[in-house]
């Protein structure tokens, strides 16, 4: 079998679907970190922290990082590299190989559905960021002329409404034709990068985009920390006041279970675990590449952006210009904070406000695009594996899926109900389920001892032995508890929303159709692999990773 896979075209030919690899050690880490660093780092984290005890929020936050985020990350990195050695790169076939059951191939469909369905709306949001950056670059977005802060806020809401087409369904009627054009550009960039391959497209782009994002964040941070007391009428609204609003601890919050749930949820969603991306990215690593230190490094990179930039910039500047009441009001709304409040904040910064606004939204655009490219690669790998086709055909199928899904998201833009529904059912519920499934497969089917032994192959640091019980009991229990509370609090309301809203029903129908189509593809892939004599566990005696391309890819 390995002779089969060795006899194909040169591995760099992207059209043949040949094996791919990360070019450098840092490449895969920046790509995973780029996937994790998104709008939530800058817009969701500070709101969650401020609303749940300020500085005290960091206690459950770091505990959740150690008990949930990093161990699940290690499990995914390890399973991904293991799958890659067996010739598999997509979650369905990797989970099938490790779980040694066809059932896990079908459950693993979630590892394709989640990134793909989230990309349907994520590239749309990415287009908003690009639109705002361009409006600042061209001077088109000048709220200072609108009058005082209430008028500027109203104008900012109006511009956001026009950008996303929030009042009416339909791309023309909704007024978001410009956003549609920008989405087409952004989508083309994404597909081009993904089509160019792991090292030629994704890795090279992330190596450029991540440092650029950091530079943009530093520029905005310096400006925020040097704002002083811009309005003498409100002497308490200064930099230290803003930092105090975000960081002063309220220890009473630690007695509230909601604080712990919010902290665990923030870590969970921020690190991109249970998303289907890490398992796919790690499958392109060499067989003896380190996964333990790489997993921690990617998580640490994400935390640097979240804590030191997100925690310092966002609510500090909102407080300085708008005061505690308004900053509190917008803190819980990611879109409200990013697209309604921040333009008002930049308008108060004087002539430099437009420059800082352009840098800020360009940074958000980079954060979004490094995340969105990671959402396409798992689907691409799956289409290649399931159909035995090269990258060109797989990319074409991916484009068809995404054109339909994104068009529906943009068309049903009224109240962002469609987008919101996909985000809830796939981008939230689906992630919980996939994370639990992956963790259970790792801890109970693969086995913690075998899993850690596999993880330690080529590892530059050892996983402390305390993580054996953590992976076996603590992390699954933590996740299960989080999932139980989450479903108890939300599921009833979500079901009600679907029964009452037609766009929400369309969204759920679309998700169902995607699941069905992906399951059919798994079935076809199983048949194809079986015909080639490749079982659940893939290539049994994997050769060097560079030779272990997608199992029996070329028919």
């Amino acid at each position: 079998m390995s002779e089969d896979t060795k006899s194909g075209e040169p591995e760099m030919n992207p059209n043949q679907g040949q094996s791919q690899e990360w070019g450098t050690k840092v490449g895969v880490i920046l790509a995973v970190a780029g996937s994790a660093v998104g709008l939530g780092n800058f817009l969701r984290f500070p709101g969650q922290a401020a609303a749940n005890g300020g500085g005290a929020f960091m206690v459950p936050y770091f505990i959740a990082l150690l008990l949930v985020g990093i161990p699940i990350g290690w499990a995914e990195w390890t399973m991904g590299r293991y799958g890659g050695k067996r010739g598999f790169h997509s979650a369905p076939f990797i989970l099938g190989a490790i779980g040694k059951s066809r059932v896990f191939r079908y459950i693993g469909v979630l590892g394709v559905l989640i990134p793909m369905a989230v990309s349907f709306y994520y590239t749309y949001i990415e287009a908003w960021c690009l639109d705002y950056a361009l409006m600042y670059f061209t001077g088109e977005l000048d709220l200072a002329a609108a009058g005082g802060i209430p008028e500027q806020t109203a104008r900012a809401e109006e511009i956001f409404g026009q950008t996303v087409g929030i009042k009416t369904n339909g791309i023309h009627a909704g007024g978001n034709l410009r956003t549609f054009v920008l989405w087409a550009i952004v989508f083309s960039i994404n597909i081009t990068l993904v089509y160019r391959g792991i090292s030629g497209g994704i890795e090279k782009f992330c190596q450029l985009a991540m440092p650029t994002m950091a530079v943009c964040a530093v520029i905005v941070l310096i400006r925020v920390l040097t704002l002083g007391t811009p309005d003498p009428n409100f002497p308490e609204r200064d930099v230290l006041g803003g930092l105090g609003f975000m960081w002063n601890p309220d220890f009473k919050a630690l007695a509230n279970p909601e604080t712990w749930i919010a902290a665990a949820g923030q870590i969970f969603f921020s690190l991109s675990v249970g998303f289907g991306v890490i398992i796919n990215y790690a499958s392109y690593m060499k067989k003896d590449s380190d996964v333990v230190l790489s997993g921690v490094t990617a998580a640490a990179t994400n935390e640097v952006f979240e804590v030191s930039f997100g925690g310092m910039i966002t609510l500090t500047s909102a407080f300085i210009f708008l005061g505690a009441t308004q900053a509190t009001a917008v803190a819980g709304s990611t879109f409200g904070l990013g697209f309604n409040t921040f333009p008002v904040v930049f308008a108060q910064m004087g002539p430099l406000g437009s420059v800082i606004g352009a840098v800020w939204f360009f940074m958000l655009f980079l954060a979004a695009i490094t995340s969105s490219i990671s959402m396409y690669q798992p689907s691409l790998a799956f289409f290649e594996e399931a159909l035995g086709q090269g990258r060109k055909v797989a990319t074409s199928i991916l484009v068809v899926f995404c054109l339909v899904g994104s068009f529906l998201t943009m068309y049903f833009s009224k109240g962002l109900v469609f987008l919101d529904t996909v985000d809830k059912w796939v981008g939230t519920l689906g992630i919980y389920i996939l994370a639990m499934v992956q963790l259970c497969i790792f801890s109970y089917l693969f086995g913690v001892a075998k899993g850690l032994k596999e993880a330690h192959q080529g590892a530059k640091i050892q996983i402390p032995s305390i993580y054996k019980p953590i992976l076996a009991f603590v992390s699954p229990a933590f996740l299960l508890g989080l999932f139980g509370v989450f479903t108890y609090n939300n599921l009833g309301g979500w079901v009600k929303e679907v029964t009452e809203s037609a766009p929400a029903q369309y969204a759920v129908t679309m998700i169902g159709c995607c699941i069905f189509a992906l399951c059919v593809l798994v079935f076809l892939g199983e048949k194809r692999l079986a015909q080639r004599g490749i079982g659940l566990e893939g290539i049994h005696e994997p050769g060097p990773s560079s030779d272990s391309g997608p199992a029996g890819l070329e028919d």
Partner: protein, 37 residues
Amino acid sequence: MEEHGLNGLGWVFMICSIVGVWTLAIFCYKKLLFDDE
């Protein structure tokens, strides 16, 4: 009106959190890039 100036514990939590994540990141990148196999 609630007091919002950064207090002593606020400083501690802010500095510890930021220094903590940077230290972890620097340790990881140093080990990954400069430590031999």
